[in-house]
């Protein structure tokens, strides 16, 4: 947290097994220009996993084929919101999996540096927009106080109402936009657009906000530990839960619990 406050830029971790390629990207990409900061690089999946967990970067750029565990597996184990994949593969099943892991884009080797910069630039724009949303939510929280994050429940839109009730039922399972779209019989792009238009939040933001609200409720029970709460709220790992929680509340779940139990 402190890192971003110092530099006001988003952090990036690059995972690529070829040293030449790694060095080339590290030196060629105009990180500063993109308001990014490359905070670490790794040469295999396991090393990458450790590094990501340690540094908690905003963005991960990774190859798919890596020694140890592959790039997608690595992403699945880490609390990652935004990733860009570089690959020699065009296998569609990889792409599908990548979408589920919240991968922002998928670039094919040989990677055009210009293309990569364009991709990173639009990703930064998106993250900034999301941060603004979170900021807005944090501000409204201090006024109400009933819930950690106030969320619209009924929006007078049949489809979005159904999506919200889907979230209310399934937040404890590892579901995302794809499952909701399949459930509602819509295309993912359509649901995503509609949801953002009606609620002002995108689907994933809303889902995570819902999960955080639920976790706050559960934290009132002192017998439950943080890891258990993360799992039962549908977060893949406690680390990811902690990261998301911090984004919404500004503090980690443990800090939050300490503050509120003393009150």
């Amino acid at each position: 947290m402190g890192k971003r406050e110092l530099a006001m830029s988003y952090t990036v971790v690059l995972v690529e097994d070829e040293k030449i390629v790694r060095d080339e990207l590290a030196s060629s990409i105009g990180w500063d220009r993109l308001d990014l900061k490359l905070v670490g690089t790794a040469g295999d999946g396991l090393e990458g996993e450790a590094l990501i967990k340690k540094l908690e970067p905003d963005i991960v750029i990774t190859d798919i084929r890596l020694p140890g565990i592959d790039g997608l597996q690595m992403l699945a184990r880490c609390p990652i919101n935004h990733a860009v994949i570089l690959s020699g593969h065009t296998d569609f099943s990889y792409m599908k999996q990548a979408i589920r892991l919240g991968v922002f884009d998928y670039l094919l080797k040989p990677v055009d540096d210009e293309e990569l910069e364009n991709t990173l630039s639009s990703l930064v724009g998106k993250i900034k927009e999301e941060d603004n949303d979170y900021e807005r939510l944090r501000k409204t929280r201090s006024v109400t106080g009933e819930e950690l994050i106030p969320l619209p429940r009924s929006v007078n839109n049949h489809v979005v109402d159904n999506a919200i009730s889907f979230i209310a039922t399934n937040f404890g399972k590892p579901v995302g936009l794809q499952e909701a779209a399949t459930f509602l019989g819509l295309s993912e792009s359509h649901l995503s657009r509609l949801f953002k238009e009606v609620t002002g939040l995108n689907f994933l933001q809303y889902l995570n906000a819902w999960r955080i609200n639920k976790s706050v409720e559960m934290m009132k029970d002192p017998k439950r530990n943080i890891g258990e709460i993360a799992t039962s709220c549908g977060f893949p790992t406690p680390g990811y839960f902690a990261k998301i929680f911090k984004r919404f509340s500004g503090v980690t779940p443990t800090q939050f619990r300490d503050e509120h139990s003393t009150v």
Binding site: D23, L108, P110, V111, K126
Partner: protein
Amino acid sequence: MRRRSLFFKLLTSFLIILMIPVCLVFLFNFVFGNKNLLRSLKAQGKLAVDQDAAALSSVLDEYRHKAYQLSTDPLTIQLLGKGEDAMDSEESRQLYTLMFSTMKGDTYLANANIVSSSGKIRFSTHDFPSIYDLRYHTNETEPGSLFSLLEGTSLTASTISIRGRTSTGNNETIIATIIRQVYDAKGNVVGYVIIELFSGAADFLNQDYVLSDEILVNPTKYYASSLLHANVAGSYEKFPELSDIPNLNSGVISRSHKILCVTPLSNTDLLLVGSLSTTPYEASMRQLILIILITLAAGVALSVLCASLFSRSIARPVKELVVSMKKVEQGNLSTQVPDANIEEFAQLDHSFNTMVSQITSLMELTREEEAKLAEAERHALESQMNPHFLFNTLNTIKALAKIHHEDQIYTITLKLGKLLRSTVDNHESECSIKESMELVDSYLTIQKIRFGEKLHVALETEPECLDAMTPKLIIQPMVENAIGHGLEPKAGDWNLLVRIWAQGEILHIIIKDDGIGFDRATLPSDLGKLEGSGHVGIYNVYRRLKLRFKDEATMTIESDTGKGTVTTMTMPLIHKTVDSEEGEFLV
């Protein structure tokens, strides 16, 4: 809805057509025919009998008058009063003269006899009939005798009897006897004049042959005799039909199988009865019924035959067609139906055959298309070593170039990577003009680095054509051809133009170079004839265009030696459908 066989329907209609006229004839004959026939028979019979009766009465009147003349002649009266010896006297000869003159030569129709009441004097124009010989026949009860004939009749008038049915010596049948008594001055009966009428006198009877019999009837004496049949005479017992008509004077009566027409003879108490047998008419009526029934039976048989023939002639081609359709359903596309001998079915069969052969050729076309694609893929697979290795290596080269600031190597590596991706990694058969032109651009970027400033390229694409869909790899191979065969051998500057525009619903693509060109004779104007020739690249592009768009696509190559080559392609303008959102990355 109930289903009935064709045969049943045809049979029903045939039977209806057959039944209507036959039933009408039948009905007409039985309701009206019998009555009409009977009425006309009655009228005909009555007319014949009336005519005959009038003629017969005039004949009878004539002979009655002759009897009167003879009986009132003084010579007759005088002679009858004399003895037996007078038969040879001079007066007797005068009497004979009188008798013959009175009969006026009608002696072949009738005879005249004069007999005295004592029987001693007898004259006759023929042989005197012995039954009137009063010397031997004095018994009144003896049938046929003079007295029995006179019984109960008026003594002054002539008596006409029909009972004297005897045959004379010359075998004439007597139909009537006229008897008149001869009185002397004192009023005593001195003798009798008897005229017997032969059947010849009535030969005018039944000249039309309408009647089966004509009977002269004496209703007071219940005696009758047939005028047409000899030897049929006697009381009513011999004419059973007459027994039913007592007191009948005139009219027509129907009897079973007979019609009787009765007319009285004027000035007599006799009746003439004409008998008309209806049996032949009834027989002909029965025959008519029989004919109708036979016609009906034959008609029904014919209907069954025709219906079965017709239904079979219709059902057979339909059945053949159905069988053939089943075969086609099961996938046997070599099925052909032989033309039926009914025009409409022949047309149907023809259409069916055409359809099947069209399906066959369509399937062949699809198969060919698949084979082409499979071959193209095989080629691609053969040519690719390990794409992942290839692309990773390119990536490494690119990284190295970048690190060492080798901009041209960097660019060539990137573009080569894109080029390889679109040929090796892309399994779609179609792509947009935008993708095609990116590929062309990648290719030309490399070539520009290779050949430096002498390659001048102009790529002109109308913006509305960018999303037009065409088979992939139709432009780049032709650009490659232009550079490889047209421009590379040429000294000096190279100019290449690729222009893409839309005109209405047609997409135009031209690839033009100012290279060395080639002799037009070496390339056929119909590029389809290139199959199996050395121009694999051109034929491949041409064939894929044709497979995709059939005759709606054209491709021509024009060249002038030393001046350059122009490749022109046209095809329908098909815009990309907007369902490509699925590929977008979403969060």
